[in-house]
């Protein structure tokens, strides 16, 4: 095959990959859903977190502040923003204080006001009470409120509608200026939005945030006003794009490094192209398999998966470095196959354990890596030989490499004693270094800037927005039971508020009392004749006309006869959103949530909740316990995987001595990485763990190839060349990641870079066999030179 033909074929392969990439991209449904990634929930808090909430009622809230113009302008912008956003289905609530709540009660629900309002709990609709109320209404008519209350009065002389609307306002809402919420200083107009998309849904949150920005751009006009956005969704979008930006430029730089290194190493511009094809094929095949096999690919699967199949980058390099004139590339590939294949099969079998972990995220990862590595290896074995230059410079002929090899040959070989001693030291450091071993807080991996957190805390305080971390859950057999149980909690909550343990709370029963409470209020409503008598006597002694309140008697009669209002009756009214977010119903089970604002004393709240049969859930702790459960499964899978790996290598090499020589460096490397990370006070997380697996995979390959080289000098030189190219590319690529400002990239980068360095050195010191005849010839060559 001519060089030209080979190039055309390589380019055709590339084109095929682009096409396949486009096809996979069409069907790729990337999800950020924590539920796909985590093991199934065990504790109530985990269940609530995973099954019902996503991340808690506060996680859907976005806090908005408008500043930078005079208060009146900001107020009209706030009103315009609310009008625009409330019309969009992305948001279940858009609140800016502009709604005084009168519209929250749909017309058809108005007669229910006597069942929803607590007035009747302490009061009867008798003549004395009505006379008092009518006197107050006269004053209302003489006050600036007149035009507000006058239309309500005929059917509602006690202004129950207004009382309800007021009681449904946030319990500690910010001050209102010019009709909308403002901060205490009166400089910033404030809004709270609730997205329909879950807090963990990055696409949904991104859409909501884009909608807010574009709406603001439209209402701002040429005003110098600024918009600040805060809340979990805003943070995750901000950090997601920052991570993507940084990963993007690091990736570009890494590709450049890769191209340059391969070009230099093989003095051919085609080497980087051919070298990239198997990995790209593997990645696409892996991704395609996951897309076909699962609904929805988790973003973390893709990130972990591409990290793990990074080891396939080395496969073509081995083929390149061993190629020389006079050797058919097919024969060379066949000769390398047992070694390459052992590495791939051993790693693949190890990843099989992820399939039985019971965690979908890990199962996806297993499918991705096994298919990816397999494809890359098969492409290297059965396609790449047809495309590479059959007679490049023999790496074994390079004098510079020969000198390096000679120097390396003089390195002392590491004995078993030294090896064991080093391992003991590493274990000791890893085990006894101070500080926690694991970092479970996933948010620490993508930290929010301190300034943004402070701003969030300030806005949260101004708005009395609910706590994102804690929520009280009250369980019940059905909605009614849960509502009743949460009602019983209310006196205790008021006490907590008075004691400053919390600054506010919200619960579904505030909008929709239990049917039992509604029935109790119903029983306290007077009969129609009774009410008529009381009303007549109250009206007679007031400035009101005798027929002013005809509608009132009818409404009370309807309220007395009505069946209590249920959740389903609220459908289509603004109350449905308020209740729906705080009352979660499932078949045979319901959970009423109490959101808490300004939580100062979680312990006191937890105690009080427990006394009333409720539970203070710590959602952060729950998500951390899930992370730790995930890690537990991963560690078990890895333990099993290492046994399978040893067995596979044993079967392939059939000699205890060789097995030890191949596996010991990667085992020691793992210990050394742990010791270094722990020694520097790094708390380990899932990303370190995945990076450790990749490092081990690389180490296995280095060792297998050094073992394969045997004691033949030229083979050792070619292997050395291959492994230097492999380790140098990997080292540079991951060192770039290690320099990132984002901890998750740093965790992967640092760990793999350390792993490459340790594996390389240990493979040289421990696995490589002394070149019996070769070293003599080498010394001759050196003398000649």
């Amino acid at each position: 095959m001519t060089a030209r033909r080979r190039l055309v074929l390589a380019l055709a392969w590339l084109a095929l990959l682009l096409l396949a990439g486009w096809l996979v991209g069409q069907r790729l449904d990337l999800s950020g859903d924590l539920r796909k990634f985590m093991p199934s929930a065990q504790t109530p808090a985990q269940k609530l977190l995973i099954d019902e909430l996503g991340e808690g009622p506060g996680s859907r809230l976005l806090l908005v502040a408008l500043s930078g113009d005079d208060a009146e302008t900001l107020a009209s912008q706030s009103a315009a923003l609310r009008e625009r956003l409330a019309a969009q289905s992305r948001f279940s609530t858009v609140a800016n204080g502009g709604d005084d709540g009168l519209d929250a009660i749909a017309e058809r629900l108005r007669p229910y006001r006597y069942l929803l309002s607590p007035t009747l709990d302490s009061q009867r609709l008798d003549a004395a009470f009505l006379a008092d109320e009518l006197a107050a209404r006269v004053q209302d008519l003489g006050s600036p409120m007149a035009s507000l209350v006058e239309p309500l009065l005929p059917s509602d002389p006690t202004l129950e509608t207004l009382k309800l609307a007021e009681s449904w306002q946030p319990s500690n809402a910010p001050q209102r200026l010019h009709g909308v919420w403002f901060d205490r200083a009166g400089r910033e107009a404030l809004l709270v939005l609730e997205t329909r998309a879950a807090g963990f849904d990055p696409t949904g949150q991104q859409g909501a945030i884009d909608a807010i920005h574009s709406a603001f751009a439209a209402v701002r006009g040429d005003s110098p006003a600024r918009l600040t956005l805060s809340g979990p969704g805003a943070f995750s979008v901000e950090i997601g794009s920052r991570t993507a930006r940084e990963a993007g430029w690091i990736g570009t730089l890494d590709s450049l490094i890769f191209v340059l290194l391969l070009w230099l190493a093989y003095r051919s511009w085609k080497a980087p192209l051919l070298g990239a094809l198997p990995l790209a094929s593997g990645g696409l095949a892996g991704l395609g398999a996951v897309v076909l096999g699962f609904d929805g690919v988790h973003g973390i699967t893709v990130a972990f998966g591409f990290t793990l199949i990074g080891v396939a980058q080395d496969y073509p390099i081995h083929l390149f470095s061993h190629q020389r004139a006079g050797l058919s590339p097919w024969a060379s590939a066949r000769a390398l196959w047992p070694t390459l294949g052992t590495g791939v099969v051993a790693t693949g079998i190890a990843y099989l354990t992820f399939l039985v972990s019971g965690v979908e995220g890990l199962e996806q990862l297993a499918v991705f890596t096994i298919v990816g590595l397999g494809t890359a290896a098969l492409a290297t074995r059965f396609v790449l030989p047809g495309l590479i230059d059959p007679s490049p410079r023999d790496a074994a002929d390079s004098p510079r490499l020969a000198r390096l090899w000679a120097r390396l040959a003089r390195w002392p070989r590491m004995g078993v004693t030294a090896f064991a001693a080093l391992a003991m030291v590493a274990i000791a450091v890893a085990a006894w270094a101070p500080g926690p071993f694991w970092q479970n807080d996933l948010s620490k991996l993508t930290p929010v800037p301190v300034a943004a957190l402070e701003r969030d805390a300030q806005l949260r305080d101004e708005l009395g927005a609910p706590d994102v971390r804690y929520v009280i859950a009250v369980e019940g057999r059905d909605a009614e039971a849960a509502l009743r149980a949460s009602e019983a909690l209310q006196p205790a909550l008021r006490k907590l508020q008075a004691a400053d343990a919390i600054s506010g709370y919200d619960l579904a029963a505030r909008y929709l009392p239990s049917a039992a409470t509604q029935r109790a209020r119903q029983s306290r409503l007077p009969s129609t004749p009774e009410l008529q008598v009381s009303l007549d006597s109250a009206v007679a002694s007031s400035p009101f006309r005798g027929d002013a309140f005809a509608g009132f008697v009818d409404d009370v009669a309807r309220a007395k006869a009505a069946s209590p209002l249920r959740v389903s009756d609220l459908a289509g009214t603004p109350l449905a959103a308020s209740v729906g977010g705080l009352l979660l119903e499932r078949k045979g089970h319901a959970t009423a949530l109490v959101s808490l604002a300004g939580l100062a004393d979680p312990d006191a709240v937890a105690r009080v909740a427990a006394q009333h049969g409720a539970q203070l859930l710590d959602l952060k702790q729950a998500s951390e316990s899930l992370v730790s459960a995930y890690r537990g499964r991963l560690l078990w899978a890895l333990a099993l995987a290492s046994l399978l790996l040893v067995a596979t290598v044993w079967i392939a090499l059939r000699s205890p001595h060789r097995v030890l020589r191949v596996l010991a460096p990667m085992a020691l490397t793992t210990l050394l990485i742990l010791a270094v990370l722990r020694g520097f006070g790094v708390e380990l997380n899932l990303f370190h763990l995945v990076a450790l697996i990749l490092a081990a995979g690389l180490g296995l390959d280095y060792a297998l190839f050094f073992d394969h080289a045997g004691d033949d000098r030229d083979e050792q030189l070619r292997t050395l060349h291959a492994i230097i190219v492999c380790s140098l590319t990997t080292l540079l690529v991951f060192s770039m990641l290690a320099l990132s400002s984002i901890p998750v990239l740093r965790a992967i980068g640092g760990t793999v870079a350390l792993g490459v360095a340790f594996n390389f050195v240990l493979a040289l010191l421990f696995t490589r066999q002394p070149a019996a005849s070769g070293s003599m010839r080498m010394e001759d060559a050196d003398a000649d030179a």
Partner: protein, 178 residues
């Protein structure tokens, strides 16, 4: 700045219009206080687009000024008239002036559609530097009349509607001409 007022508030629900006496105060720019003294005590504070009504023994009630458009007109005209700021007034209203300096009538018609949907006009009447009467005509409901300063003083003890109208319109009954 403070000035006494007498206000008549009519409603279809009431047997007779309500007569209220008290005092308007402007403790500082941008704040208007309406203090009712007779027949009951009540203090309303209007500031930054918000209205707060305080009554003895009850927690104060707050609502948005946009819910009480006639009050907005009152506040704007008060402030503008007191500071002689016609430009401020013209931001919100079309202005028509009639009469002589000794007996003038200023008619304000809201410009903004929101306000215009609730408020037909505000008619101010006065003598020289004295604003004596404000007639607020909402789109729905009865005319609301407020007598101020000399007119309010003259209205002491007067409850007949036509006599009050005469006082407002400045058809002096001798007391006003004092």
């Amino acid at each position: 700045m403070r000035t006494g007022f007498v206000e008549l508030r009519g409603s279809a629900l009431l047997k007779a219009p309500l007569r209220i006496e008290g005092e308007y105060q402007r403790p500082r720019d941008g704040t208007l206080v309406r203090e009712v003294r007779v027949p009951y005590a009540e203090t309303t504070t209007i500031r930054a687009g918000e209205v707060q009504i305080a009554r003895a023994g009850k927690s104060p009630r707050t609502f948005s000024l946009s819910r009480a458009p006639e009050l907005g007109g009152l506040q704007a005209s008060f402030g503008a008239l007191l500071s002689g700021d016609r430009a401020l007034l013209e931001q919100h209203y079309r202005i028509a002036v009639d009469g002589t300096r000794a007996r003038w009538v200023m008619t304000l018609t809201p410009k903004q559609p929101g306000l215009a949907a609730q408020l037909r006009s505000v008619v101010l009447r006065g003598r020289g530097a004295e604003l004596r009467c404000i007639d607020t005509q909402p789109i729905k409901g009865d005319l609301q009349r407020t007598l101020l300063a000399g007119a309010a003083r003259a209205a002491a003890g007067v409850s007949d509607a036509s006599a009050l109208q005469a006082l407002c319109h400045g058809n002096g009954n001798g007391v006003a001409a004092r």
